[in-house]
């Protein structure tokens, strides 16, 4: 038994859970591991008392430092600043209540430089921080000494980090720290995901076998779908869901505190605005929370939520994680949550107390989405939780990491190579590939030229170092994996900082224009450098900013759950149909009348000509992920018959191929479209991955240091170094096709966007289906959401020149001239 924990739990009159005791025992034995427990059951304490015991058990070990000063004992990594703060205060409370001298420091992007200096001179016993901050410490001279006595690392919310490149930052930091202390104890804390074992192995590394501790506690979750009064007036398409806003008000009134989750920041702004106009008495007890608002504003909202002052917070994924908000008893999800894990996580934000019931309301934004309510319930009951797919072979982060080491202590290539290939991410890279990365920062790539003036890294003996102070500074400023567009700071004239907006949105506004941001109506006064100066406006109407990115595709599991519900639609057993399916009966009738309602073993294809061109709608119900790749393969196969350019839209239910010319369709052609023959080749050659890779390259260019965002407060000075990632992508495509980073962009497209293996399975399933082709006179309920989808991709096997020629011809037609 853990003595400190025993005392503390007695003070609180609490009973420890079995998983907490198990974790203490494992840590006491010096074991590493992964703890899987739902939020609200004391998982922090399960690890924390292990940390404390480890420290006090060994308190009498001799200090290695002659100055008799303690060094850092524990590093606690979390994905969120807000969560870091929460852990910081919870662990400090333990030290206070038990009268311990164990000091805990906090270091995030917000920590002042003076505080960081203090932390470096006299380190706390434990430091709570983010993956980026750990790398910033690794980029500081003396990091080896600083981490010299580090004994325990805890990685909180590992499931969240693992599926992103921030997880790779953690893997790399661990590889270095393990080299400094081979006995390092590593613990991860994770919510339930499909691949927990893999999560453990990735965190601990293939050498370090550890234990998996699972808290067998079931969190009770209730899902309700908010239905419109009548189906007729409910829109067939749309992403906003405002028509059901009235239905939300009674839920807010009856609850203590409500979180209303939207999928995008723009949607959050719009909902905030709309609810306020519907129910003005909410002013003062309602707030907005999303990633572009200033930290002060978000801190205020989080504290007010804690204190139970707020009745409603409209938020995005910025409030998905961590922090306990005990007053929250109602959660509303607007639109598809796109994944079951995310939905569960959001549901878990209510009823945070152990044993309490979590209630979540699902608010569909268009009629077909009502079906998702039923599929979410099904998925929750079947515990269909997604896997988190880890990144592998991320050369962009490897390049960043090598530079990080080069700006602090310098590195020996052979030693670091041996370290990084022990991580999951880089276990398959060869020495040649590693050397290529090195060459990129040493010589600027493989192309050698007598005139070349590339300058970044130096080799002194066996050690690679950065000696140029400006390069070192630029590197420290760009550590991390979050790449955003040029952001402009929105400020009141008197100086209060509100948050940030992407440059392209502001560029469309003129002084005097009104726009909505952070829930207020603002008038643009002027733009100065990277600052947008505003004053409060009385105007009720104004543009609402939207932000790029944040577009989640629906998960494959949710796709499967959706197909399952579709079986139910045809079931003769009316009694056992879910509420949502029964409600949608008139919509399915309309679908049969205008087109056809496909059965389980049928594939429906609709063809229609509108003023936009010729549309082919294909309903494969595989989820958006698979549809994106499938659409490109189908477009390729069609354009082999006739050269065509398609604009492609996909959603959870199907695919739209839109062309300016007639699309050849006959039974033979359609059957060949889904044939398994030559499928492999058609996937390989057919998917025009260039556009996808170009988008993917944006992040890679940012992480690897190709695109420099500029110095804080001094944005203008870097002007001569500014270029967008698209330009670099084109130049690499033209001059250096075998570049590692370019290849990485394509690899990421194949693994994360196309999910090739799942696409295969989908083609195999569909090959057994009967194809039903309908030519429509007007759009069907199924086709409408696709028809109005504004996010589109392009597929073409016509070359750029002939495409331009075609536009020229179109221009010559009169109708273009309005």
């Amino acid at each position: 038994m853990n003595l400190l924990a025993e005392q503390w739990f007695k003070q609180k009159d609490w009973q420890p859970y079995a998983f907490q005791q198990a974790t203490w025992k494992h840590i006491a034995k010096g074991k590493s591991g992964l703890l899987n427990a739902p939020t609200g059951f004391g998982k922090t304490m399960a690890v924390w008392f292990g940390v404390l015991e480890h420290y006090y058990e060994k308190e009498n070990y001799p200090l290695s430092d002659k100055r008799k000063k303690r060094k850092l004992h524990c590093l606690w990594i979390t994905p969120l600043r807000a969560l870091s703060k929460e852990i910081h205060s919870a662990t400090n409370t333990v030290s206070d209540e038990l009268g311990l001298d164990y000091r805990i420091g906090l270091r995030t992007g917000d920590t002042l430089a003076s505080e960081r200096k203090k932390q470096k001179a006299t380190p706390p016993h434990a430091l709570i921080t983010t993956p980026e901050s750990v790398h910033i410490i690794l980029a500081t001279k003396g990091y080896m000494d600083y981490f010299g006595e580090l004994s325990i690392i805890v990685v909180d919310e590992w499931h969240e980090l693992m599926g992103s490149k921030r997880g790779v930052l953690v893997e790399l930091a661990l590889s270095r720290l393990k080299a400094l202390n081979p006995k390092l104890i590593i613990w991860g804390i994770s919510a339930t995901i499909g691949n927990l074992k893999e999560a453990k192995n990735i965190l601990l590394g293939n050498v370090n076998t550890g234990v998996l501790v699972r808290a067998d506690i079931d969190k009770k979750i209730e899902v309700h779908t908010i239905l419109p009064d009548t189906l007729e007036k409910f829109p067939w398409a749309g992403h906003m869901g405002l028509s059901l806003a009235e239905k939300v008000l009674p839920l807010i009134r009856q609850g203590r505190s409500t979180l209303l989750f939207t999928n995008t920041r723009a949607q959050a702004e719009i909902w905030y605005h709309h609810l306020l106009s519907l129910s003005p008495e909410l002013a003062g007890v309602m707030a907005l929370h999303h990633g572009s608002l200033s930290q002060e504003l978000r801190n205020w909202v989080e504290e007010a939520l804690h204190d139970g002052i707020l009745k409603l917070v409209v938020c995005t994924s910025s409030l998905d994680l961590g922090v306990d908000f005990r007053p929250v008893d109602t959660v509303i999800q607007v639109g598809s949550p796109k994944g079951i894990a995310r939905f569960l996580q959001r549901a878990g934000r209510s009823g945070h107390q152990p044993g309490a019931l979590s209630t979540i309301y699902f608010l569909p934004t268009h009629s077909l989405e009502i079906m998702e309510g039923a599929s979410l319930k099904y998925a929750v009951s079947k515990k269909m939780v997604e896997d988190r797919i880890p990144f592998i072979r991320s050369f962009d982060i490897l390049i960043q990491y090598l530079l990080t080491l080069a700006v602090s202590e310098g590195f020996n290539a052979t030693i670091i190579f041996e370290e990084v290939i022990k991580t999951h991410c880089y276990q398959s890279i060869s020495r040649e590939e590693f050397d290529d990365c090195l060459l990129i920062i040493l010589k600027g790539g493989k192309t050698l030229d007598a005139y070349d003036e590339f300058y970044k890294l130096e080799k002194v003996g066996e050690i690679y170092k950065v000696t140029d102070k400006r390069i070192a500074l630029r590197h420290r400023l760009s550590i991390g994996t979050i790449v955003s567009d040029a952001m402009m700071q929105v400020k009141f004239l008197r100086g209060t900082y509100l948050g940030s907006i992407e440059e392209w949105f502001i560029s469309r506004l003129k002084p005097g224009d009104t726009f909505w941001f952070s829930g207020r109506s603002l008038e643009l006064v002027r733009v100065k450098h990277m600052q947008v100066l505003v004053r409060a406006s009385q105007k009720k109407r104004g543009a609402i900013p939207s932000w790029m990115g944040g577009r989640f595709p629906i998960s494959v599991n949710l796709g499967a759950a959706l197909r399952h519900i579709f079986k139910e639609v045809h079931s003769p057993d009316e009694e056992n149909k879910s509420l949502e399916v029964r409600f949608l009966a008139p919509l399915f009738d309309t679908q049969s009348r205008k087109s056809y309602l496909p059965k389980e073993n049928e594939l429906l294809i609709e063809y229609i000509q509108t003023k936009y061109g010729h549309h082919l709608f294909i309903y494969t119900f595989e989820g958006k992920f698979v549809h994106e790749g499938m659409a490109a393969v189908l477009a390729y196969r069609l354009s082999k018959i006739k050269p065509l350019t398609f604009s492609i839209a996909t959603n959870e239910y199907g695919i739209e191929l839109l062309s300016d010319e007639t699309i050849p369709i006959s039974d033979d052609i359609l059957a060949a479209l889904f044939s398994l023959q030559r499928l492999h080749e058609d996937i390989q050659h057919g998917i025009n991955t260039t556009e996808m890779a170009r988008r993917q390259f944006r992040e890679i260019a940012g992480i690897s240091g190709l695109v420099f965002k500029g110095y804080p407060k001094n944005q203008l000075k870097a002007r001569h170094l500014q270029a967008n990632a698209g330009l670099f992508f084109s130049v690499f495509e033209d001059y250096e096709k075998d570049n590692l980073l370019l290849r990485q962009a394509y690899d990421e497209v194949f693994t994360f966007q196309l999910e090739i293996s799942r696409m295969y399975a989908a083609f195999q399933r569909i090959a057994t289906h009967k194809i039903v082709l309908k030519t429509l006179k007007s759009l069907s309920p199924f086709s409408f959401p696709l028809f109005t989808e504004s996010f589109r991709q392009k597929y073409s096997n016509e070359d750029w020149r002939s495409r331009i020629e075609k536009i020229k011809r179109q221009l010559e037609q009169d109708d273009y001239y309005h």
Binding site: Y455, Y612, R792, K794, R803, I804, E805, L811
Partner: protein
């Protein structure tokens, strides 16, 4: 395509330049020579180009039109002097019969003295007859009687083709007081200006220039 500005004939070229046939002046905007090499010098690993398409294009224009003067409307060099700039300077030394003029742009930070050695004349603006002024960008106070021929913006035109296909292409932008040239350098990007109804837009499509409705 030939247009007339204040009684002067002006040839808009699909090579993203302008030629005054009477004066035999070739005008080129925003070449940004040495951009990629500048990046490399600052430790940003842009790939090296093996050929210099911009320079080749300029030479072919000189061969075709035989100008007596070439005016660069600013941002000739992306930043400090580097090897690519050196290559450019060596190349123009082969044309002693041509007068080269640069109207200084915001990117042109190379000291004037250095330019003098290269034989490129430096000025803020180059005045032609009929109150035509060649400059990098519009002056803070625009002179009513002047007509400005400028660069700086890198104008592009975005339009919607059939089947919801979208394209952006470089263009010449003509207003009642100015003509903005597209950027000549190929790795320079584009910006979409606010077009007024009274403006004229000449979009470059392959080897042709097409006038667009606003």
């Amino acid at each position: 395509m030939t247009i007339t500005i204040r009684g002067t004939e002006v040839l808009l070229l699909p090579q993203k330049a302008v030629f005054f046939p009477l004066k035999k002046i070739l005008v080129i905007a925003d070449m940004h020579i040495g951009k990629l090499v500048h990046f490399r010098r600052k430790g940003i690993f842009a790939p090296l180009r093996k050929t210099n398409e911009d320079l080749e294009m300029m030479l072919s224009l000189i061969r075709k039109f035989q100008p007596t003067e070439v005016v660069f409307l600013g941002d000739l060099f992306h930043s400090e002097i580097n090897s690519e700039c050196g290559h450019f300077i060596k190349t123009i030394e082969h044309f002693p019969e041509i007068r080269f003029t640069l109207t200084k742009g915001n990117h042109d930070i190379i000291p004037d003295a250095l330019f003098k050695e290269t034989g490129i004349e430096i000025t803020d603006e180059r005045l032609l007859d009929n109150h035509l002024v060649l400059r990098h960008q519009l002056p803070e106070k625009r002179h009513e009687e002047f007509f400005y021929i400028i660069g700086h913006i890198h104008p592009g035109y975005r339009f919607q083709g059939k089947g919801r296909q979208r394209y952006s292409l470089p263009c010449f932008h003509l207003t009642n007081h100015s003509l903005t040239l597209p950027a000549f350098g190929i790795h320079t990007g584009m910006a979409i200006p606010d077009f007024l109804n009274s403006d004229e837009i000449y979009v470059i499509m392959n080897e042709e220039i097409i006038r667009m409705p606003c």
